[in-house]
Subunit: 187 residues, 2 copies
DNA sequence: CTGCTTCTTGAGTATTGACTCAATTTTATA
DNA sequence: TATAAAATTGAGTCAATACTCAAGAAGCAG
């Protein structure tokens, strides 16, 4: 769509605006007008580069999901601790995107069944990666036992992230470390 | 405001509509028009009974928070297991309200600082109740240790609820039991 | 520098949102 | 059953929404 330099730059400014707005004011208040004002462009430019508001939002949403699950094709040499660390880093460092990610299952999924399925697939894939990692560290575990443990770990991490969104003072990192140690056994 | 029987009935139908919509389609799509259609009334009746859309939504939101923390003045004779059970029952039996509750911290809190503070207070209160219950069961624990455990338990429960919203097949109850047993010690 | 593409703008449209109000009907009660 | 309060309606207002389009400005290859 964008071919000239300025077009590409504008596209990026629009995405950056959208990321910021979704994280700061939520889906409901992320309007085309707000996106354009933040990006210092008029609505016409927006629609020269994107087909619709939903398209931009979906682009950002995809980014958020990917950020939680980088290298989905990776052979998987990570440890459970590293996977958990990556998630907590994402939540702490990219707060806006973290909020978008957490909101997804609860809100976006309500009106858009496709998005709900995408989130569900992502979640199951995530459980699988954690489970594979745990089995690499503890080959003696049964697959079921490992899976249950990782479901509980991921639920715990999501719950901690949820808590942290409410209360930025909350020390999510040390709590996450406790969870990992419990679920993996002291490494 | 409402005095006659029919007014009270209408008020309840509006609240019921709002509860349903918030749970099924989320905050964004819960419009006055949708509420009125579902309640089989015109907008004028709505505004005869409520001052604004926000007022109804806030009413339902308060209900959702209260449902998770019934009897806030209670002397506190519950066990940790009972408190956890109450939450899981709420999530499973009142699915719509459960969704509203989970959405609150992530979405409503973004644009309304008052609501965010209310949720935060509620959350801290909840941690306190769980902690008190645990200390009653295990007086030997330090307050800090008990508190950390209960923060992790509540994070876990919220995470499980979050997972269940995505995937209704997920067996949240048995997983919650595991968490309680771990955090309390086998009762 | 020419000519074609892309970008940007500004002034729109159509729709939907929350909310209002005068007029009418319904309800409870004295 | 007369009456005042309350409930309901339907036809509105006004602002904000997503989105469009013709025309001019800017970018770039030959």
């Amino acid at each position: 769509m964008a071919r000239y330099k300025s077009g590409i730059a504008t596209q990026e400014r629009i995405l950056e605006s959208t990321r910021g707005l979704l994280g700061e004011v939520g889906f409901e208040s992320t309007t085309v007008k707000a996106i354009c004002e933040r990006a210092h462009i008029r609505a016409g430019s927006f629609y020269n580069l994107f087909d619709s508001k939903d398209q931009v939002i979906l682009t950002v949403v995809r980014e958020a999901i990917q950020a939680v699950d980088p290298d989905p094709e990776g052979i998987g040499s990570d440890t459970v601790g590293q996977l958990a660390q990556t998630y907590i880093d994402f939540i702490l460092n990219e707060r806006q995107m973290g909020r978008v990610y957490l909101q997804l299952a609860l809100t976006a999924g309500l009106t858009d069944e496709t998005l709900r399925r995408r989130m569900l697939r992502h979640h199951q894939h995530r459980v699988n990666r954690f489970t594979d990692a745990l089995l690499r560290e503890h080959p003696a575990l049964t697959a079921d036992e490992a899976r249950t443990r990782m479901q509980l770990l991921i639920a715990g991490l999501n719950g901690l992230a949820y808590h942290w969104v409410l209360d930025p003072e909350f020390d999510i990192r040390s709590k996450a470390d406790i969870l990992v140690r419990e679920r993996v056994g002291i490494a």
